[in-house]
């Protein structure tokens, strides 16, 4: 199971669909990037190939967004290969969302999606930025593409829910029906 799919990481924050939810989502991406980095390590070298990138992701996971971003920027400067660069860009996008610097976050998400427009996490993060900036049509497009790439991604559903709450809000209606035979009550 991908670390990003662990529900306990984000479940409590999702309920209010607020900024903490956004931060939680950003953390999810950081987790995924740590695992990417580790899987590469196991194939190639012993120990972290890009320690700044790995430590940056860990800082982001721990909620230390500013330290995480600083380390990840250093990691990006020495990133080798496409995957490492994408991981750094994705984490920077997430990190800047965490510190609510949406302009910088968007810059790194754009860079990521220029590198790889099929990066569903990048689509998800950018959709989140657009939702926070109330650019709902752009968010919708990114979510559609993201869901085409990974239809089962829970984080995409979360952001989609945030978009729906912003554009098509609903209120819950609970009907308690004790009747043995239902009538046309509605």
């Amino acid at each position: 199971m991908d670390a990003a799919e662990k529900p306990e990481l984000w479940r409590p924050e999702v309920r209010k669909m607020s900024r903490p939810a956004a931060f939680a989502l950003a953390l999810i991406f950081a987790v995924s990037l740590v695992s990417t980095s580790r899987s590469e390590e196991s194939k190639v070298v012993i120990g972290p190939r890009n320690p700044d990138l790995t430590e940056g992701a860990q800082e982001l996971l721990a909620g230390n967004a500013e330290d995480g971003v600083a380390l990840t920027l250093r990691g990006l400067a020495v990133a080798q290969g496409k995957r490492e660069k994408e991981a750094a860009l994705s984490n920077l996008c997430a990190g800047y969302i965490m510190i609510e610097d949406l302009d910088s976050a968007l810059t790194y998400c754009d860079m990521l999606l220029t590198e790889n427009d099929r990066h569903w996490r990048g689509r998800n993060n950018r959709a989140l930025i657009y939702v926070m900036r109330e650019e709902f049509e752009k968010a919708e497009i990114d979510l559609q593409v993201g869901q085409e790439i990974n239809p089962n991604a829970r984080t995409l559903k979360v952001v989609k829910g945030m978009l729906l709450d912003a554009t098509q809000p609903v209120e819950s209606n609970i009907i308690i029906d004790d009747r043995r035979k239902r009538k046309n009550e509605e």
Binding site: G161, I175, R179
Partner: protein
């Protein structure tokens, strides 16, 4: 004028069998939930506590509606016994429905009344109504 309107609404509610809000059992949900309770006029057991299930957050997020029916016995003291889900349109609705029924109760039997061995069933319907964005602001 306002009183007259209130009476009209109250009369309309009685006519369609609308009893009014039950006891909300939601934990931390601060969202608005509309509650409607339709009672069975043929039953002689009177609910004292009618707990309301919490709308499952995932169902709300994904805009899923549905219903769950729970059947149970009511003992002589009005407590719910042997509650079980009879049917649920989606598994997400089963847990909050069970939780709500376990928090509900009825009035105890009076001295001249006898227990019936017939199970009682209650259906919880989970619906989502669109809200105008202006209303939220």
């Amino acid at each position: 004028m306002a009183i007259k309107a209130g009476i009209t609404v109250l009369f309309a509610m009685i006519c369609i069998g609308l009893v009014g809000p039950g006891v909300a059992s939601s934990d931390n949900d601060t969202r608005v939930t509309r509650i409607t309770h339709f009672e069975d006029s043929t039953s002689d057991r009177i609910p004292t506590v009618t707990a309301v299930p919490q709308y499952p957050e995932k169902a709300r997020r994904d805009r899923i509606e549905g219903e769950a029916t729970v059947c149970y016995f009511v003992d002589s003291k009005g407590r719910i016994k042997n509650a079980a889900i009879r049917r649920s349109s989606h598994k997400m609705f089963a847990k909050p429905s069970m939780k709500a029924i376990k928090q509900s109760s009825y009035e105890p039997l009076r001295p001249n009344q006898k227990m019936s061995n017939v199970k009682t069933c209650r259906t919880y319907r989970f619906l989502l109504n669109p809200v105008a964005i202006e209303e939220l602001e």
